[in-house]
Amino acid sequence: MQDILALALDNLLSPIILCFVLGLAAALARSDLAFPEAVAKGMSLYLLFAIGFKGGVAVASNGMSGQLGLSLLFGVILSALIPFVAFAILRAMTKLSVTDAAAVAAHYGSISIVTFVAASSVLEAQGITFEGYMVAVAAAMEAPAILSALWLISRKGGGVDQGGHLWREILLNGSIVLLVGAFLIGWITGPEGKAEIDAFITAPFKGVLCLFLLDMGLVAGRGLRQARGEVRGGVLAFGLLMPLIGAGFGLAAAALIGLSLGGAVLMMVLSASASYIAVPAAMRVALPDANPAISLTLALGITFPFNLTIGIPLYLAVATAILGG
């Protein structure tokens, strides 16, 4: 227990978290500190490439441990299933409309890759290994949740813009393609390929992550400032409760698959986190009547910082207690 608290505190005082807090504080204080859109996008491309590549190299080095297929399958199931749970809770706990509830549910079924990256960093710092292919599981969990949300809506009689290329857009979404592509390149080129570009993708990684989280803090803070009125009461409580429920599902899946401790924590983090890049864009196209401010504020302003600060150490503690160190 003491260990967990120490770890949580350690985590809270890491440069990564403090950078997010700095961004959040600057935005709430209405500083004009801001990252250009191109710089933010550039950092996110770098992070996706690096994390995908390193995952692929890990698979090339350690082999597949036979569970890649099973993990992907469970990832897809979790992503498709969690929106139903989230939707039911939202309809029970909040006054959100069917459309808004479905849109929020889609975000929570999908994943936040930055939360995943932050969790991997914590694991690495603790010397806890994890399955390299978890990054492929992350990619596989991006999209199914969107399908579930659209199904929920159409079942409730809501209109969904199933425009010709919605599916291509979702499945060939830039972040999925980059993550999976870099994963494959890492897998093909293996440790030799990694040696060639290690100084680029490994050494500066954590520093870039710091600046990226600073920007995310700024964006989250601006969102919170503007949406102050809309996210409160039941909706707010959902943003803190849902990650715990998601993490529970993730832990159960990890136990069924037989993932390592590190892999289980990452599966919990994926299930607990909410998308704020791929799903928002898809929802704007498919559910234009849903209010984007609600989902984004919940995902980025409530659940993301919750996972970053309390969630990750908590999931690690619970996984350690249940699965053993």
């Binding site: 990252f35 933010a40 890049i277 864009a281 704007r284």
Partner: protein
């Protein structure tokens, strides 16, 4: 220089809808348009800014110069896409010189 009457249609629309809009325009026979970036704005759905964003968030401004007789077709096509979405459409009278281009 001889000038010809034309219409300047300015459509401010969510960036995620850009491809759908331009495809609809092409479908309506409008083959010329220009897309301008938008930094931020405000409307009924509140204020927003592009700074620090990562996804295809934000809006773009699509400007079309067309012959007056094509306006109706263009608007019909555009509204098919814009209708349920955040955004605004405005139409101004303008003049162009090389009319054969439009």
């Amino acid at each position: 220089m001889e000038m010809h009457a034309a219409k300047r249609v300015e459509i401010i629309i969510e960036a995620v809808m850009e491809t759908r809009l331009t495809e609809a325009l092409r479908g309506a026979g409008v083959s010329g348009y220009t897309v301008l970036p938008v930094m931020g704005g405000a409307g009924r759905s509140g204020e927003w800014s592009r700074e620090g964003q990562i996804g295809r968030s934000g809006m773009v401004a699509v400007v079309c110069l067309i012959r007056p007789e094509r306006l109706d077709g263009l608007l019909k096509a555009a509204f098919g896409v814009v209708e349920r979405h955040i955004g605004v459409v405005s139409i101004s009278d303008t003049q162009v010189v090389r009319a054969e281009r439009f």
